[in-house]
Amino acid sequence: MGMKGILRVVPKEEYLLPGNPSCPGCPASLGLRYLLKALGGKAILVIPASCTSIIVGPYPFSSLRVPVLNIAFAAAASTAAGISEALKVKGKEGIQVVVWAGDGGTADIGLQALSGAAERNSDILYVCYDNEAYMNTGIQRSSLTPYGAWTTTTPKGKVEEKKNLPMIVAEHKVPYVATASVGYPIDLILKVRKAIKYRGFKYIHLHAPCPYGWRFPANKTVEVAKLAVKTGIWVLYEIENGKFRLTSLSSSLIDPSKRLPVNKYLKLQGRFKHLSEEDISRIQERVNTMWDELMRLVKES
């Protein structure tokens, strides 16, 4: 998309204020900025314990120009469902209730509430910004930390695989599930806009490379995010009413030769620096297999 196209899609209005306490190169603040632009301020945000609990600013300040309800770690989806039903009872239409939660708050401690809200098809938009570890408490592994990654609780590298959360959510048969990346803001904005047209449970899983936790320089967030997609480690897709579709750059990566080798992505990050050649081959193998499975979904749809 050219500059003109971008300006047409992305509103100038800012809802995340500058001067907020996020780290340099923070992917959460990038994602939050695009998300709120896409929502145009007609949203109530529910934020469980996460880095964003800090980014919203200390009392009595707020870095966001939308109402925020901070909530306990495991409670985001159910709290949002409560708000959404209350707005309906009160006859307030056109306000999107949005959960903005990290990978720990979504895939680990918040999974029960998330699954409950998804199964009930609660009318909320749930956005998981996935920086692949507990960053706010100082880089501990989560179930979304990928294989091999160093964290403070996996000092030799994680031995388990990353949980495939968007597909788990999709299995709840909700109207809209999508993945996105902070490296592809237009794709994210279009997905948010599409999601909020649906009543019911919408889920967007946002890949969010974290310079602090992944051990790369703060000016490389977008580059690392883009490489995750270009190598095929992170895939951009959406599942609309059960129909699977690759989006943005990912739709042109079906041919394996179009995908960069995973090492291009891994070598930029300190968290993978201990990986052996064997580990890297294993990761490459997993990516290839994942794409084979995706091909099946593409054909089925």
Binding site: I54, V56, Y59, P67, V68, I71, S78, G82, E85, A86
Partner: protein, 399 residues
């Protein structure tokens, strides 16, 4: 306002669980979020019937856990609606984190607690360890003796919780099975009458609003956190007066007035038993029997556990020579929870010439009845000769 005389009163045979559902319906709750647990289930089942039968205009959120039940109530209350939930025992413990959140966020939520023992070992029967676990959280805690009180207390609870001087959640307790599953005649006030007593909630300025965005619950530095806790306590202290005013006004409308405690023949009593919930009825019978035998016995029934009814208790108990506190709860390594509070109240108020005895009784639904209370009274009439002191007795413990 509608007067009692003109208002028609309908009587129904209801268990406390059904009375709770009728109370919530008459209070026109807007969101019901709950998770089933024995012995609370009929509360939610009845409300589901009301909602699906279009007798109550509300939304039911059939959550996957109690943690989510309270979270949904918090969301609903923060968005300006009137939420209701009910739970018991393990369920209350599972939502414990959100219990504190609700009070800290100053949200007017009402919750029924069917008081039940905590496992292990599994027990589904009456016990007060569950509701007393939320004692220090900032919730107002009101206890009920009968199905009528459950209904009346739930209606009043919304007036108290939503009062601008209070803005705190209220838990209304009643005993497992003895109350929850036992039917009694209950007077149902007319909807019109309840509407005049309890108007719709007026949204406070902090209610979530996209036109005036504010942020709730942000990180607060040591410079300000203490003040937030202090203000919760201020609200709870003010609630004492509000609970009495609301109880009086409710009395004018229905003929059933409520205070912080209920005194029964305490005026000239040498020995007073303090208790709560369904045990109170049997204690009244014991008092009547003993009075006929010439004993000056009395009862104080605690209605309000938090805020602690300091002055009311002191007035009722200060002339007694012995005070026995019979409770289905215990603080491990200390004594009866309510008993130690009452004992300190008496001592800190300079009342030293009194014997206080903490009776731990009826845990896990252990039967306790009129004859037991007569035994306890008689033993207190002997103990009062000691003049002073504090003692813990596990009543009816098997050797």
């Amino acid at each position: 306002m509608i007067s009692l005389r003109r208002s028609k009163v309908m009587k129904l045979l209801l268990t406390s669980n059904y009375a709770a559902a009728y109370g919530a319906k008459l209070a026109r709750v807007e969101i019901v979020a709950a998770y089933p647990i024995t012995p609370q289930t009929q509360v939610v089942e009845k409300l589901a019937e009301f909602i699906e039968g279009e007798e109550l205009k509300a939304t039911m959120i059939r959550v996957e856990s109690e943690h989510s039940a309270m979270a949904a109530c918090i969301g609903a209350a923060a968005a300006g609606a009137r939420p209701f939930t009910a739970t018991s025992s393990q369920g209350l413990l599972y939502m414990y984190e959100m219990i504190w959140w609700a009070a800290g966020a100053r949200l007017p939520i009402v919750m029924g607690v069917v008081t039940r023992a905590i496992a292990p070992p599994w027990s589904i029967w009456s016990d007060h360890a569950d509701i007393l676990s939320i004692r220090d959280s900032g919730w107002i805690i009101i206890f009920s003796e009968s199905a009528q009180e459950v209904l009346d207390n739930i209606i009043q609870a919304y007036r108290i919780a939503e009062h601008k001087e209070v803005l705190l959640p209220v838990a209304v307790g009643w005993d497992a099975f003895t109350s929850s599953h036992t039917a009694e005649p209950v007077s149902l006030p007319e909807q019109e009458l309840v509407d005049s007593f309890l108007p719709p909630r007026t949204p406070e300025p902090f209610v979530l609003d996209v036109n005036e965005p504010i942020s709730h619950g942000n990180l607060t530095y040591p410079d300000e956190y203490m003040e937030f806790r202090f203000l919760i306590n201020e609200g709870l202290e003010r609630a004492r007066k509000v609970i009495r005013e609301v109880g009086k006004e409710y009395g004018k409308l229905t003929g059933r007035e409520y205070g912080l405690i209920e005194e029964y023949k305490c005026g000239d009593a040498d020995v007073i038993l303090v208790t709560l919930g369904s045990m109170a009825g049997d204690v009244k019978d014991a008092v009547d029997i003993l009075r006929k035998e010439g004993y000056h016995a009395g009862l104080v029934k605690l209605r309000c556990l938090r805020p602690f009814p300091r002055e009311a208790l002191l007035n009722a108990l200060r002339e007694a020579r012995a005070v026995g506190i019979v409770e289905r709860s215990f603080s491990m390594g200390r004594g009866g929870i309510i008993a130690t509070e009452i004992n300190s109240l008496l001592r800190e108020s300079g009342v030293n010439d009194v014997v206080t005895v903490s009776y731990i009784a009826g845990l896990g639904g252990r039967e306790i009845g009129v004859n037991d209370f007569i035994n306890i009274f008689k033993s207190l009439f002997k103990k009062m000769e000691r003049g002073s002191g504090f003692e813990v007795v596990w009543y009816g413990l098997r050797g």
